[in-house]
Symmetry: C3
Subunit: 140 residues, 3 copies
């Protein structure tokens, strides 16, 4: 078995949900050498997250932002952690709900995603800046 | 180290939460050859998901459906993605909240689950059809 | 590639969110031997969970407890599973929302966490008792 790892910095994106499947696969071309394996993508931040969802209709990504902004409200007077602005504590909570990594099986040199699946960068801050990922793949 | 991978199609199940631990373990008998390893199960869909929870009392699975149907409402007038029916956009959101994969350590040829833990297929569509999994295990 | 695995029992902690990064790394010193790899931490329970979030300001962990206790209410009359007390069914739901495992890339013998990231034990029961983890790391 082999293991490959590559850091990737994503440019700043606006608050919301963004497809990054192609960026990830392009950053680690050794995925193509693995007949059977796993791809893991990890985000090194606590106010942005990663998930897998619909890769076609952009209204799905719009509705993700609508839903999560309602489900995790800003300006809850019970929050103690509010020094960094009203979007900060909700960003930490959304990151925990969605998760800091995704894992995808590799089959015949490609991520074995379903036909409608893509990797989302979930940017929860109004101005989150560039985001750092670590991409790891292993297998044979 | 060795790695094994097997596709598995689950028959259609009704909307709700279903125990599939036995189906997964049966589909990849090579788990039994691994003294130390990891089992990953991935679902290739964006409107169904996987999680780990209580494997005994069926009321827990019933209450999961109750909770998630309240927490992620249908027919929110703010949703833009509503062409595929009222259960569609909530299904995408629930799938992201629960996740598209589970990972379980393997110890002495068996998944090292806690005594009350089982793998749930979370079917979020009213009529979701069969669901495709990819099961991967590695270790030595 | 090598794989290492170690069980770890955490002492009982009060309901809430607790940093356990140092406990995990201390329990599996072979992490230090891996130049490139992955660390997985799994919790063998269905009423406690693991996540990754802010490791500095303790008010973040306080606000996690505030948020999740509101988002997953106790004493919903629609719950059927209520024999083990009002905190039991919400604990199962919170565990599913947050997840039973975390995965972190290893680089140069250390978990490649972002500067503000730490591993949280999320204790959802009022009196959860000690909690059992399985820690696995692989790589080369």
């Amino acid at each position: 078995m082999q293991i490959y790892q590559q850091a990737l910095q994503l440019k700043e994106r606006r608050r919301g949900f963004h497809l990054i499947t192609a960026d990830v696969v392009y950053a680690l071309p050794q995925i193509g050498q693995l007949k059977t394996g796993i791809l893991q993508v990890f985000i090194q931040h606590t106010s942005a997250s990663l998930t897998i969802n619909e890769n076609a209709d952009p209204t799905v990504r719009h509705d993700f932002e609508t839903y999560f902004s309602k489900a995790v409200p800003e300006n809850d007077p019970d929050y103690l952690h509010d020094d960094e602005g009203p979007d900060d504590m909700p960003a930490h909570l959304k990151a925990a709900l969605l998760g800091s990594s995704v894992m995808i099986p590799i089959r015949n040199g490609k991520p074995a995603l379903g036909i409608w699946q893509g990797i989302y960068l979930c940017e929860h801050r109004d101005y989150g800046g560039p985001r750092n990922l670590m991409i790891t793949a292993w297998g044979e």
